[in-house]
C-alpha cells in the first residue's frame, strides 16, 4: 500500500513535470530553440492566479483562466521582443537571450511581489479520496493534476495532428524555409506555439502551486530545469515523449527517494538520464534526424 501511495505521488509530480515539459518540447520542436524562460512563465502564472483569488476575490476557475490569459500575452510578448529579432541569429545567441529573459522575469517578480514567500491556496475544491479503509489517501489536487495532464496531452496531440495550424506547425518544424515558400506564415506559427506553450505554463504553475503551496520568485526555476530534463529524457520535440519523460522522471524521483536514499534522489534521476542518453541519444521517443551535408 505504501508503494502504491508513493507511485501516485510520483505520477502526480510527474504530471506537473510533463505539462511543463510540453511547453519546452513544443517550442523546441517548432522554433528549434530552448526557451529557458519557460520556468519563469510558470511562476508568473502562479502569481497571477494568486492575485486573482486573494486580491480580486475571483473563483479558482476564473483565476486559472486569468493566469492563462496573462501568460499567453506574456509569452507572445517575450517572443516578439526577445526572440523574433534573433530569428536568423546563431542558436547560442538565442539561448543566452532566453537565459536573460529568465533572469529578467525573476527579478521583475522580485520587485513586484517582494521576495517574501506567499502561501498558495489550492484551486482544487475537492477533498482527499480515501481508499482501502483510509490506508491510501489521494489528495484532490493529485487527481486534478493527473486528469488535467491527460486532457492536455490529448488536446495537444489533436491540435498538432488534426488541425490546420497543427499542420503548419509540423511544416515549420520540418523545414522553415520550405514552409515559407508553401505560403505558411512562419512568424505567426511560432507566435501561436509560444501562446500555447505559455498558456500551458500557466496551468502548470497553478497546479504546481496547488500541490506544493508555496510561491516565490524562484518557484519556477527548479521545476523548469527538471521538466527540461524530462523533455530531453522523452526525446525533445516529441509531444508523447514529453509526457512519458515527465511521468517517468516524477516516479523515479519519488521511488528513488523512498527506496534508495532521500539524499540521492536527484543524483538518481540524472544518472538514469545519462544512461538513457547513452543508449538512445535522442531520448526515449526522439526521432533520429539524418542531416545531409
Amino acid at each position: 500500500m505504501t508503494f502504491l501511495s508513493y507511485l501516485i505521488s510520483g505520477i502526480s509530480l510527474g504530471s506537473i513535470y510533463a505539462i511543463i515539459a510540453l511547453g519546452y518540447t513544443m517550442v523546441y520542436g517548432i522554433a528549434k530553440m530552448l526557451n529557458f524562460a519557460h520556468g519563469d512563465v510558470i511562476m508568473v502564472g502562479g502569481y497571477m492566479s494568486f492575485m486573482a483569488t486573494t486580491h480580486f476575490g475571483w473563483s479558482p476557475f476564473s483565476s486559472v483562466l486569468f493566469a492563462m490569459g496573462v501568460c499567453t500575452v506574456l509569452g507572445i510578448l517575450i517572443e516578439q521582443l526577445a526572440y523574433k529579432p534573433l530569428r536568423s541569429a546563431p542558436s547560442l545567441a538565442v539561448l543566452i537571450t532566453a537565459i536573460g529573459v529568465s533572469y529578467f522575469l525573476q527579478n521583475a517578480a522580485l520587485l513586484i511581489w517582494t521576495p517574501n514567500p506567499k502561501s498558495f491556496s489550492s484551486v482544487v475544491p475537492f477533498d482527499s479520496l480515501r481508499l482501502f479503509d483510509g490506508q491510501l489517501i489521494i489528495s484532490g489536487t493529485t487527481i486534478v493534476t493527473i486528469v488535467a495532464c491527460a486532457i492536455i496531452i490529448v488536446t495537444l496531440n489533436t491540435i498538432v495532428n488534426k488541425t490546420k495550424i497543427g499542420k503548419a506547425m509540423r511544416a515549420v518544424s520540418e523545414d522553415k524555409d520550405v514552409a515559407q515558400l508553401m505560403g505558411i506564415s512562419v512568424n505567426k506559427t511560432i507566435s501561436v506555439t509560444f501562446a500555447i506553450g505559455s498558456a500551458l505554463a500557466a496551468v502548470a504553475g497553478v497546479l504546481l502551486c496547488s500541490a506544493y503551496p508555496i510561491l516565490m520568485p524562484t518557484t519556477g526555476a527548479m521545476p523548469g530545469i527538471k521538466a527540461f530534463t524530462a523533455a530531453v529524457f522523452g526525446g525533445i520535440g516529441s509531444i508523447p515523449g514529453a509526457f512519458l519523460g515527465g511521468i517517468l522522471l516524477g516516479i523515479i524521483e519519488i521511488l528513488g527517494k523512498a527506496y534508495i536514499s532521500t539524499q540521492l534522489s536527484d543524483a538518481i534521476v540524472f544518472a538514469v538520464l545519462i544512461i538513457i542518453l547513452l543508449v538512445k541519444p535522442t531520448g526515449l521517443l526522439g526521432k533520429k534526424v539524418l542531416v545531409k551535408v
Binding site: 508513493y6 506567499k118 502561501s119 524521483e253
Partner: protein
C-alpha cells in the same frame, strides 16, 4: 536598414542619458562619503554633508561612526537580509535621535553569495567602514569573517549562526544562537517537557544551518535516551514533495517530528502532512519563525507547532511592542526574528561604545580591540529584543535562553 541604425542610435543616446541622470541623482552620496573618508580635512564642518543622515544631530556636531552591513537584499534569501537591514535602520535612527553618539549605516547586498559578499565587504572598506554588522547568512559569513579577521575590523553578525563563522576569529561575534546550541537546547526542551517519545527528523542536508542543528540534536538525543525512529533529508532542489519523508516518519510511528529547517519548506511539510492525515507534534527551531506572517498561509495548519525562538512579535514587553509598532508602520509587515536580530546588533554595539570616547576618526583596528575587550570582558550584559541578560564568550558565541513557543489560534504563545 537606415531606420534600424537610427533606432539603435536613439536607444544608445537614451542609455547614455540614463547613465548621466543616474549620476546626478546620487551626487549627494559620493560627496558625503568623500568628505567623511577624509575627516582630517573637513573636520571643522562635517555636519554639512551629513544633514540627511542625522537630523537632530546638529547639537552634538558629531561625525557618525560608520557601520557597514552585508546581507541578501535581493535573491531567494532576501527576506532575511531585508529584515535585518530594516531592523538595523530603525535602531540607527533611534540612536541618532537620542542626540549622543551618531551612527551611519551603509547596507550592501550580497545576494546570499560568498563572492559577492566579499565584494560588498571591499566596497564598505573603501567607504571607510569602522564596524561590520554582518553578514546576515552563513555561507557568505564564512568568507567575509576571514577577511574581517585579517583586516582587524570588528564584526557582529545578526544571524549567521554556523560556528564556522566565528571559529578561530577573535573579532567576530554572533547575536543569534549558534546552530549546535539550538540542537542541544531543542533536545533538552523535548525531554524536559516530555513532548515526544518517538522522534522523526527531516532536515535539509544541503544547508549548513540545518545540518549543524541536526547533528548536535542527534548526538544530544542519544545521551538523553530520546528515541529517533526516522531520519530523512531533502535539498533546496527537492524541497517540494515531502510525501516520502512523511510516510516514512508515519510508518516508523513517530509522534514528534523535529524540523531544523526554514519555514518555507516547513509550510509545505505541514500542509502535506495535513493532506495525508498524519498528525504528529511538530517541533521547529528559529528558522520556523516567519511561518505565521507568510502571506495567505492557512494558520490552522500550524496549530500546535512548537518552536524555539529568541523573539516573538506578540510579546507584551515595552521594547517589543514599540519595535513591532514602528516596524509595521514603516515597512507594512510584522517583523520577524531577523529584523529583531538586526536591531539588537546595532544596539549592542551602541551599548558597548556609548561610554567610551570613540569618534568617527577612531581607526577600525583600535575599535576592534576595544570592542573585543568589552564583549569578552565578562561584564558586558545586553538586554534586547531577542533575549535578556545576553553575554558573550571569548569564542564569540552568545549566551541567552531560548524561548519555547507554541502556535495557538494563529499566534505564538510562550510555553513556560
Amino acid at each position: 536598414m537606415k531606420r534600424k541604425s537610427y533606432f539603435t542610435f536613439v536607444v544608445a543616446l537614451m542609455l547614455c542619458l540614463a547613465l548621466l541622470t543616474g549620476c546626478a541623482g546620487n551626487t549627494a552620496k559620493p560627496t558625503d562619503t568623500a568628505e567623511s573618508a577624509a575627516p582630517s580635512e573637513s573636520k571643522t564642518e562635517p555636519s554639512g554633508g551629513q544633514q540627511t543622515e542625522t537630523e537632530p544631530g546638529t547639537s552634538t556636531n558629531n561625525a557618525p561612526i560608520k557601520l557597514g552591513g552585508i546581507g541578501p537584499l535581493t535573491g531567494g534569501a532576501a527576506v532575511y537580509g531585508v529584515a535585518v537591514a530594516n531592523g538595523a535602520k530603525i535602531a540607527v535612527d533611534e540612536i541618532n535621535a537620542l542626540g549622543g553618539m551618531q551612527f551611519e549605516l551603509n547596507f550592501q547586498d550580497d545576494e546570499h553569495d560568498a563572492e559577492k559578499s566579499v565584494n560588498a565587504y571591499n566596497v564598505l572598506k573603501d567607504w571607510g567602514m569602522q564596524i561590520l554588522v554582518g553578514t546576515v547568512t552563513t555561507t557568505p559569513g564564512i568568507a567575509v569573517s576571514t577577511e574581517v579577521y585579517n583586516d582587524r575590523i570588528f564584526a557582529l553578525t545578526p544571524s549567521a549562526s554556523s560556528p564556522a563563522v566565528i571559529e578561530g576569529k577573535d573579532n567576530v561575534y554572533q547575536m543569534c544562537f549558534s546552530d549546535p546550541n539550538q540542537g542541544i537546547a531543542s533536545a533538552q526542551y523535548i525531554q524536559d517537557k516530555g513532548l515526544g517519545t518517538k522522534i522523526a527528523v527531516i532536515y535539509n542536508n544541503g544547508c549548513a544551518y540545518s545540518t549543524g542543528i541536526y547533528e548536535k540534536f542527534v548526538s544530544e538525543a542519544e545521551t538523553k535516551n530520546l528515541e529517533i525512529v526516522s531520519i530523512t533529508t531533502f535539498t533546496d532542489d527537492t524541497a517540494n514533495d515531502f510525501s516520502v519523508q512523511l510516510t516514512e516518519a508515519q510508518n516508523a510511528g513517530a509522534d514528534l517530528v523535529f524540523l531544523p529547517i526554514y519555514y518555507q519548506p516547513a509550510s509545505l511539510i505541514l500542509s502535506q502532512a495535513n493532506a495525508m492525515g498524519y498528525e504528529p507534534e511538530f517541533f521547529g527551531v528559529d528558522g520556523m519563525d516567519g511561518i505565521l506572517t507568510m502571506k495567505n498561509f492557512d494558520t490552522t495548519l500550524a496549530e500546535g507547532v512548537m518552536l524555539l525562538t529568541p523573539f516573538a512579535a506578540d510579546a507584551t514587553d515595552d521594547l517589543t511592542v514599540a519595535f513591532v509598532e514602528k516596524y509595521s508602520e514603516l515597512y507594512g509587515e510584522v517583523p520577524n526574528q531577523f529584523a529583531a536580530d538586526g536591531y539588537d546588533s546595532v544596539y549592542a554595539i551602541y551599548e558597548a561604545l556609548k561610554d567610551s570616547d570613540v569618534t568617527a576618526e577612531t581607526s577600525p583596528s583600535d575599535l576592534c580591540e576595544l570592542l573585543i575587550d568589552i564583549f569578552s570582558g565578562g561584564d558586558f550584559v545586553f538586554n534586547g529584543l531577542t533575549g535578556e541578560n545576553m553575554t558573550w564568550s571569548k569564542l564569540g558565541e552568545v549566551a541567552k535562553s531560548p524561548k519555547g513557543m507554541v502556535i495557538e489560534n494563529g499566534v505564538y504563545v510562550g510555553m513556560d
